[in-house]
Symmetry: C2
Subunit: 494 residues, 2 copies
Amino acid sequence: MDVYVSGIGITKFGRSKDPLEIMMARAAALALKDAATENVDAIYIGVMNVEEFVGDSNFATLLADTLGLTGIPSTRVETASSTGAGAFETGFYAVASGHLKHVLVLAGEMMTHLPRAKTTRILSEVIDRSERRYGATMPALAAMVAQRYGREHRLSFQRLGEILAQVAVKNHHNGSFNPYAQFQKEITRDDYFKSQMVSYPLRLYDCAPITDGACALVLTSEPGRVKVSGIGHATDTSAVRHRASLTTFNSTKEAALKAYTMAQVNPQDIQFAEVHDAFTLFEIIGTEDLGFFAPGEGWKALEENKTGLKGTLPINPSGGLKSRGHPVGASGLAQMVEMVLQLRGEAGNERQLERAGVGLAQSIGGLGNNNIVTILERSDRKKVQVEGWKPDFHPELKVLKKEIVPPPAEGPGRLETFTVLYATPEGFKSPLTLGLVRAGGGELVMACNPDYRNPKGLKIGQRVHLSMKEGLYLFERRTWWSQWVSRWRKKSKD
Amino acid sequence: MDVYVSGIGITKFGRSKDPLEIMMARAAALALKDAATENVDAIYIGVMNVEEFVGDSNFATLLADTLGLTGIPSTRVETASSTGAGAFETGFYAVASGHLKHVLVLAGEMMTHLPRAKTTRILSEVIDRSERRYGATMPALAAMVAQRYGREHRLSFQRLGEILAQVAVKNHHNGSFNPYAQFQKEITRDDYFKSQMVSYPLRLYDCAPITDGACALVLTSEPGRVKVSGIGHATDTSAVRHRASLTTFNSTKEAALKAYTMAQVNPQDIQFAEVHDAFTLFEIIGTEDLGFFAPGEGWKALEENKTGLKGTLPINPSGGLKSRGHPVGASGLAQMVEMVLQLRGEAGNERQLERAGVGLAQSIGGLGNNNIVTILERSDRKKVQVEGWKPDFHPELKVLKKEIVPPPAEGPGRLETFTVLYATPEGFKSPLTLGLVRAGGGELVMACNPDYRNPKGLKIGQRVHLSMKEGLYLFERRTWWSQWVSRWRKKSKD
């Protein structure tokens, strides 16, 4: 059964004075009003970690009750930071089954009320347990991806910074026209370079902010203006170190392939996209993984302004997570809300795109391991569904085939990527130097280095020495003087 | 599209030495083997509170990866203590939509590794926030329901105990034949009465235990032996004090009505049922709410042994939550596993029911506010689907129609029900006397009484005086001597 979007609602993202359920109820009321219905057959609630952010459990029930919809089935859905898109997907299947006619999809998160180090710790719980033990945070892992991207595409630290700055400047420009965005202001290249380093080489302006926010959407089987034409969902390894590539996400590619196939469209048919820019670089990687641009060409398209509001393929017309804000459970659904506004031609003069017939949203869960791609289109587009249609999109999936063997506790290795993390989670000292080291047998391991507090001394490809202390891998540079220092230290201890 | 169960898997419930994801992976492997498939299109993970019990987020991804199903879409679903049934429902819609062919539904919880007071505190987070502030736990609320049930059906404390003991004895008897049950042993009436008081009048043997456990099930659109014929889901008020009745759950009734309608069966067609006996009395209330017995007659049917393994309507042939154990996220799905075993005739000599063609499971989320009813049947049952069929089940929904007005901070009231809680959550002293008091305007309020540590002095219907201290309602008996005591206290303070 075909599924349509009949209503949307969103609160202004930022810092909320209201409790989470009230903020979410406001968004729901707007969506129900927009859909001109008060009757829904079920509610799907997307919240990522209401247990730790707010201290509540059984939140789906609380929401139904708060909405005055006591009695209506209510289910909480969670897929890490793609939760909003996960709730949308779940609601889509419920309506597509023919058993339910109207469902309310409602997503939100409340995050700004906690100390930053605690929020960072909670957000880090989406990371593989053994990588998290090192103090790795989402920005730290994204920074290691960025370092690697720079290396693979021969971009210097300065050049990479210039590119990332452009993503931030573009998305803040778009967001300046979005009345629901957390930051409705332009920023300059200089603002970007003045912003503090969060995890080398990523700055504050590379990272989506910590945000409270809620949005809602009504799905229905009654034909309407906006149709859900494709959904794809895929996971990847929990651990980043188990991937064959750090600079491309299999989960995006697989999810996109499924979504394109269901919608019977090709990447070149997409007229605009909301891409999960939790970190500036992720927008660039996203546009490559989605087949919009060739691998390693995403940053060029950005520099040529193809992805601007007036470009050939506008990316994040809403301002993206960067400027709209990133209430983790809500972001995936906020992308859908923007798409519906664009498809209906209601995004407002400055932000409304000229060509807005088919839009795509990509939402990332965790460090690129629970990703969802959704395609919405105007129902009045002329299209004939073809049985067995296949998309003109053949992504290369980079999968580590071999068995993962735990590497030895000590031995030589090579530094595959690294970062110096300044905004550490609860319980970790700042700065914290983390690296992914390729051990002798070829396996990647997460390792830390208590000696380096300055990224200048480290370089991708360096030979390092791995050792183990209290169950954690340490890495050290293997220069003549570093060996001398470590020997001297040992001696002075003895 | 019709949906069938093609495979089941369950681990022995109890205390697990393995981490949660390994325990769940074992159950999944069994289900996939039973379904004779390695390919599923999606995974639905039911865990209630993995964030606080285990300290992980992004658990759906971790599971897909642990299962060796990296890449497959994985979504976490949660509906409080009915989570396992919620994941099942979500998987059902996904297959029914026709978009997915095989899905793995996998549920589990890890609870035994934490100190009891902490587990109690985490479990209490499903309770309405303002009731939880008083230190109310699930056993405390269930105890207040039990007190009220006794009062409404004129059962003395002793008589009520005898009835509840029978539920416990019956379910332990059934569980003694279940190789997956946490407690595979019979208990006697004496054991029951010797067990410690948890929350007056409920004893340890009235409460389902704290348990680790996992189970899994494969749903498919390929016709097979067991068919999912009906699912219903409904919520109720988050707060218990906002209900018109404490001794019947609207959410069960509404969910049952939907499930019967979808399955085109009546309560009298059901041949056996798994009923959510997190507390012994809930089994009795469940059999009334599901339309098996008239309101207030459930305990009589139990006494007549109608609900025993050899009775006319066996309830909880598995041993129920009481004896199988209650890993909160898994219990709802464990009920389905038992139903499939019974429908297939694979429950084992002692436990296998003679008539097992249609089974029903009722799972309770929170304090009866997110309930799910599922009906499974043998595919070879002869049945003709009738358009517009309506069930012969007309439950009376007891809904509080009027606006809820916060009652005054001080004034007279009547004690509607009460308990003395001995197993208090983290941060509360034991024993703790809690009551639901009907204030002057007719509203129910939760209140505590620091003076009473012995339930003997209290009685339902007593006139009490409500006052407020540090934002909490206190209640005191209004006898001449209690007034004297309170005046004397005030004086001695001055």
